[in-house]
Symmetry: C2
Subunit: 133 residues, 2 copies
């Protein structure tokens, strides 16, 4: 079982595709990242079925962290979690943190640990200062 999967849920597919690309540039293939932004057909919005597909793509991960940009992305993510089986559900955490900075920091941290508390503690620090790069 691989470590931590990171799922990106924005209202814009461009944002999550760009963010995935940016994170992979930093982490190589060490972290599993899924871009689940926009609607099923690439328009602005969010899609529970699309997020569900990403959750299932991370089914081999020990834990799954979901980063959202705003309210209805969170709602779609909650719906997606409700729709997958209970074993997968238990792995999922919707993270309270900014999508770009949070997913970036979490991915860097996920390279060195699969301890979710330790990863989330790094995300929490973003309330004090921006990530360095």
């Amino acid at each position: 079982m691989s470590g931590v999967g990171i799922i990106l849920v924005s209202h814009s597919k461009k944002i999550t595709d760009g963010l995935k690309e940016l994170i992979l540039e930093m982490t190589g293939d060490n972290v599993i990242i899924e871009s689940a932004g926009g609607t099923d057909d690439g328009r602005l919005g969010s899609s529970a079925p699309l997020i569900m597909e990403s959750l299932e793509a991370c089914s081999e991960c020990k834990r799954i962290l979901i980063f959202c940009d705003m309210g209805s992305s969170i709602l779609s993510s909650e719906t997606a979690i409700d729709l997958v089986d209970s074993e997968l559900q238990e792995k999922c955490t919707i993270v309270d943190g900014p999508i770009v900075e949070g997913a970036f920091v979490a991915s860097v941290q996920a390279q060195i640990t699969d301890d979710v508390d330790s990863i989330l503690s790094e995300v929490e620090k973003l309330k004090e200062s921006a990530p360095t790069l």
Copy 2:
């Protein structure tokens, strides 16, 4: 003189292009948004000359708010501000807040006021909860 200009500085042009599109979908043409992500030739990174062009495109604005994704985007933005004339420099504020959620909330607020303190106060609230949409 128009109100507040919002400049988006991420390491990824896809992120800032997607974010600009998302914000314009919500605000129509009421807010001036500049996408200044990536390098001059669209690679991952940040570019002071590119940010400088965006600052100059907002020269008619009363104030300019710059949203960055991480440390070196902030450095490039500071360099860009140093390179423009002093009248434009005085209008610029690099915002301490997350790029996607911060620029979104600021743009929505900038539709109803050009008072920067009031806009920044909305961005500050993001430390407590995600924006609704």
